[in-house]
């Protein structure tokens, strides 16, 4: 099989086409939002919010099983806003707020499902999703969230950057910090919801962090970090889907593994570059010393 066959053969399958599109968009979306989340020290939030959404999934089923996505979404937004409010308190950090609110919500979901059972989709499909059984509705939902996120990142770019870098000075400079934070949390919840039902909790949490962390290693500019992180996320989704097809391993797992390899490569390259720079500086210093250019030390 030549390279072109390797690329085009899976595209003959409709389920693979859909999976490829969704994995690529999801990766880009999570990479974009992940920049704000990692820079705000809230990397744990992806994992936490997916648990919170599970509470909403269980509660929504008690009233209207067919609307479990909406119920889970509203629950996720409420949890994200609660985390945002609690983490702003002086004595409670964001990590503690996420831990308390999301695990509480998850426990509630377990209690409700144990007591009343599931009337809608299975626990596994709601919590872990399935990239190979994606409906058209889910694709449109994901596209809508992607457009909303892109609009937010473009038109609130400056406010989001300022509030992420220095919320106090942003507040004093007339930026509405609370509204900006709330907007980010709502978009994050929608992103997690749109990608959770498609990809699964492991991928959501990992793909919020990995592309952003790799991008941070590659650039010192905020705007470049956003673009790089989105591109890395999309690339991991795209490559991971192909690897999943040929390895016969679940897609979410391969996407995360691809991201992990990219992270390891970036870390190695950075270490090598630092070592080369250090050696170069030492050589320069020695050369200067030999040529007598160093300032003599006198007492």
């Amino acid at each position: 099989m030549n390279v072109l066959d390797t690329i085009f053969a899976p595209l003959a399958y409709d389920f693979f086409d859909r999976g490829l599109i969704v994995a690529t968009i999801s990766g880009a979306l999570l990479g974009l939002i992940g920049v704000y989340i990692t820079l705000r020290g809230m990397s744990y939030i992806g994992h936490g919010l997916s648990h919170a959404v599970f509470g909403g999934f269980a509660a929504a089923q008690l009233f209207a099983a067919q609307f479990y996505v909406i119920g889970a979404g509203l629950w996720g937004i409420a949890s994200a806003l609660a985390i945002n409010v609690v983490s702003r308190k002086q004595r409670i950090g964001a990590d503690a707020a996420i831990g308390v609110i999301t695990t509480g919500s998850f426990a509630l979901g377990v209690a409700l499902l144990t007591k009343f059972g599931s009337r809608g989709p299975s626990f596994d499909s709601a919590l872990f999703g399935s990239i190979l059984g994606i409906s058209t509705f889910q694709i449109w939902g994901l596209l809508a969230v992607a457009v909303l996120t892109l609009l937010m990142v473009v038109f609130r770019y400056r406010a989001l950057m300022f509030t992420t870098f220095d919320p106090d000075v942003a507040d004093a400079s007339g930026v509405n910090v609370s509204r900006t934070d709330a907007m980010l949390m709502i978009v994050l919840s929608l992103t997690i919801l749109a990608t959770l039902t498609v990809i699964g909790v492991t991928l959501v949490a990992a793909m919020l962090v990995i592309p952003a962390v790799v991008a941070r290693m590659l650039t010192n500019s905020f705007s470049k970090m956003l673009v790089t992180s989105a591109a890395i996320g999309a690339g991991c989704g795209f490559v991971g889907m192909y690897l999943s097809y040929y390895a016969g391993v679940p897609s979410g797992t391969m996407i995360v593994l691809t991201g992990s390899v990219v992270f390891a490569l970036a870390l190695s390259l950075r270490s090598i570059r630092s070592a080369v720079n250090r050696r170069s500086h030492t050589a320069d210093a020695q050369a200067q010393s030999v040529q007598g250019k160093k300032m003599p030390v006198t007492f």
């Binding site: 400056r158 950057m161 220095d166 000075v169 930026v175």
Partner: protein
């Protein structure tokens, strides 16, 4: 040098108390910021200097009393360098452009914004560092970058938290001269500091704070052994040198250290 506060009052703190959670850090503070103010707030760690600055800035609300700003006041703030996240991925020009957050929604700078950023960086002598990451600057350059960001807001009141902290003597000297030039250009300036001798040499007006305002006035009026004892809780000897007070630290009988500016 003017700056003892004879112009119009632009910001008025009246009998204000402020703090965080249950703790009250400042009690019954009265302070008027005038149009030509150039004041250094001095006091020991935990005295409430930064809280007073945040009260003036409007990010801390008074528990009691009031803080009243004239409608035409444009305040800009320069944070303490120790509080900045230096790992944040941001270049000098990106940081300075933050001052224009509410003026333009699009991410990229307009031609006029690019010119304004270039001009203010040029004025502060760091134009060639525009593309550098913020960590790659010296302490003095970092301070200038935040002053550039503040100036881009075209303020008439500039608040600075410990602008001379952690910099060498020459940088401190340059910084205080820069602030003096900005004051001469018509910007009111209020800053906090630990550096008594540096302030005595450069600032026309000082305010000693320790939970409340202990004293305020010219350096000659404020830097006295009695006032400093009330402020710092330790007896500090003050000498006069060329008409300028110099504080000698002989606290607890340790060998004396003279820090002249």
């Amino acid at each position: 040098m003017t700056g003892t506060g004879v112009g119009r009052v632009i910001l008025d703190v009246a009998n204000a108390s402020a703090g965080y959670d249950e703790a009250l850090v400042l009690h019954n503070v009265d302070f008027h910021v005038h149009e030509d103010q150039f004041t250094g707030i001095v006091g020991p760690s935990g005295a409430g200097k930064t809280t007073l600055l945040r009260l003036l800035l409007g990010v801390v609300e008074p528990r009691t009393g009031s803080v009243t700003r004239e409608p035409d006041v444009r305040v800009a703030y320069v944070p303490q360098l120790e509080t900045v996240n230096w790992d944040f991925p941001i270049t000098v020009d990106e940081c300075v452009l933050m001052a224009r957050t509410e003026q333009r929604k699009l991410p990229w700078a307009s031609p006029s914004e690019k010119k304004k950023v270039a001009d203010v960086l040029e004025r502060l002598g760091i134009a060639d560092l525009a593309q550098r990451h913020i960590r790659a600057l010296s302490g003095g350059q970092q301070q200038r970058m935040f002053i550039a960001r503040a100036l881009l807001r075209e303020p008439n009141l500039l608040l600075l938290d410990e602008p001379t902290s952690g910099v060498d003597v020459n940088t401190r000297h340059d910084m205080l001269h820069l602030l003096s030039d900005l004051h001469d250009d018509g910007i009111s300036i209020v800053l906090t500091t630990h550096d008594l001798n540096g302030m005595a040499a450069h600032l026309p007006h000082l305010m000693c704070v320790n939970g409340t305002v202990v004293a305020e006035g010219t350096p000659a009026e404020v830097i006295t052994s009695d006032v400093l004892e009330h402020t710092f809780g330790a007896r500090l000897e003050v000498l006069q040198h060329l008409g300028m007070p110099i504080v000698i630290d002989d606290y607890a009988g340790r060998p004396t250290t003279v820090v002249a500016s």
